[in-house]
């Protein structure tokens, strides 16, 4: 819980600093306009430059243009938001899930735990249920925070594409937390050793997440926009600019259905993992 809170705090701090940076950028744009200098993206046009020296000094503040400057300043924040949070939850889920059965067997305490008056199945379900629920809620919270961070990081056109954030925000993060936990429990019950189970969970998580994302894209194909002047509906999720005349995108109305599909797939795999973990616990534990 401490880790998750720390992650959320980090997310929020990143978001706030991104907001400040963008506000600073807009202030700079206003300064440029006030000084009569040409705006950064303009390639032609007539401007009334009051002082050439002021203009070149101002221009040096954001080298390479808006997107390049932003991504170099916030590279760690972007990495954290896109890959760090999912990876963090994968590790947290694995480290909480793997020892549940594996450590009991490593310490031989299953001989005590399974010979109290509670049946083995009730023991397994009780241990799983509370932790799975808590982790999923944590994932949802972090996912919501990350969605806000993503908004901060991509507002004002500071990023070329928002699609790379898709698996790290909102419902997707909740599903990933559940999946990592379920894989941890399952591998722990199967391998009966905590550390190898964590490793197997990490590997399995990456494979399954990429697979789930691929399935989502197969089930809901992206729309195409072509033409000399490519326009997409506002708020769309652009997959990539392709050759410049053809752009793949998901219209904004598809966003939540896509998230729900991904969540459903992740939860289904998690459920299967927990069931196979139960089979291993039931038949092999001793």
């Amino acid at each position: 819980m401490i880790t998750v809170t720390a992650l959320c705090a980090l997310t929020v701090s990143f978001g706030i600093s991104a907001g400040h940076w963008l506000a600073g950028y807009h202030g700079w744009l206003r300064q440029l306009a006030a000084a009569g200098c040409p705006p950064p993206e303009a390639h032609s046009g007539v401007f009334h430059v009051r002082s050439a020296a002021t203009c070149s000094a101002l221009k040096g503040r954001y080298p390479g243009g808006l997107q390049a400057a932003f991504s170099s300043r916030f590279s760690s924040a972007i990495l954290f938001s896109q890959d760090g949070l999912p990876a963090g939850f994968a590790i947290i889920g694995a480290m909480i899930g793997a020892p549940l059965v594996a450590r009991e067997i490593e310490q031989r305490t299953q001989f005590t735990a399974w010979t109290q008056s509670v049946s083995r199945r009730r023991w397994y379900v009780s241990k799983i249920a509370a932790l799975a629920a808590a982790l999923t809620v944590a994932g949802l919270t972090a996912g919501t925070a990350n969605a806000w961070l993503q908004h901060q990081l991509t507002a004002g056109d500071t990023a070329a594409t928002r699609w790379s954030w898709f698996v790290s925000i909102n419902l997707a993060l909740a599903g990933e937390a559940a999946l990592a936990f379920a894989l941890g429990v399952s591998f722990g019950a199967l391998l009966r050793r905590t550390l190898p189970a964590i490793g197997a969970t990490a590997a399995g998580f990456i494979v399954l997440l990429l697979g789930a994302r691929w399935i989502v894209q197969v089930l809901t194909p992206a729309s195409q926009a072509t033409g000399p002047h490519v326009t997409t509906p506002p708020g769309s999720w652009i997959l990539g600019s392709g050759t410049g005349t053809r752009v793949s995108y998901h219209p904004p109305a598809q966003y939540w259905p896509l998230q729900l599909t991904l969540l459903a797939i992740l939860l289904a795999v998690a459920g299967a993992a927990l069931a196979s973990g139960w089979q291993a616990t039931r038949t092999r534990g001793v």
Binding site: Q107, R108, T112, T115, Q116, V118, S119
Partner: protein, 290 residues
Amino acid sequence: MSTALQCANLGHRYRRGVWGLRDCSLEVPAGRVVALVGPNGSGKTTLMSMAAGLLPASTGKVEVAGGAPGRRLDRIGFVAQDAPLWPRLRVADVLEIGRCMNGGFDAVLASARIRRMGIRPRARIGSLSGGERAQVALTLVLAKKPELFLLDEPMANLDPLARREFLGSMFEACAETGATVLYSSHAVAELERVCDYLIVLRAGRVRIAGDIDELRDQHRIISGSDGWPGGGWQVISQRSTAGRTTALVRRDDAAAAAGPGLQDAAPTFDELVLGYLDGDAAARPQEGLA
């Protein structure tokens, strides 16, 4: 008299194809203190684990108090070898676990016993000695008040005084509640003082099982000079030293004389157990008359 533990052709095959227990048929009456004796790898732990519902039966079946062990968990008190407990928990926490996971758990008895042992309730299990940990595990099962105690070498780590105290507690529990105790151990000598039922295992099979007094009546220790015994005796095991052969024999006709030149005596508990541990493993297992 009801049966505390019943096994019918019970067997368990481990993953590598090794049989831990085979053709085990037992009927242990309720209220007995059973000595389960056998060398390492003879199947004592396998038998106990199956009776506690930890291992599934590959062949045959096992019943505790008339039902499958999985359905009788509340009536079984199991302590595995080395009394494994969660090392990072405190003693008080472990007793709390016992209270939460068992209905009818006598928490007052448990904490009183812990205090009497001189074990601090706030101590972590990992910091306790092996003997103290064994006492905590035993307290856990005593407070559960089961009908069948399954104790796998529980006194291995206890000092002589603790052993005597523990045996006393076991006796009390049996006397008050009519519980049955299954006790696996190597230490044959101290078993004799408390046990009234014997099961000898070897190589995964039951060699003999029955009431100790009855078994002693059915066997004789006979010794004579070399050349003896001839045919007609049901020899369990024999041993020759310095020209004399001593044998443990089973005799259906208690009145039959041994014959001239032969010494004849009832076997002690030791001689009975060692005779069955020592003999030919291929001999047919004998069921004592219940």
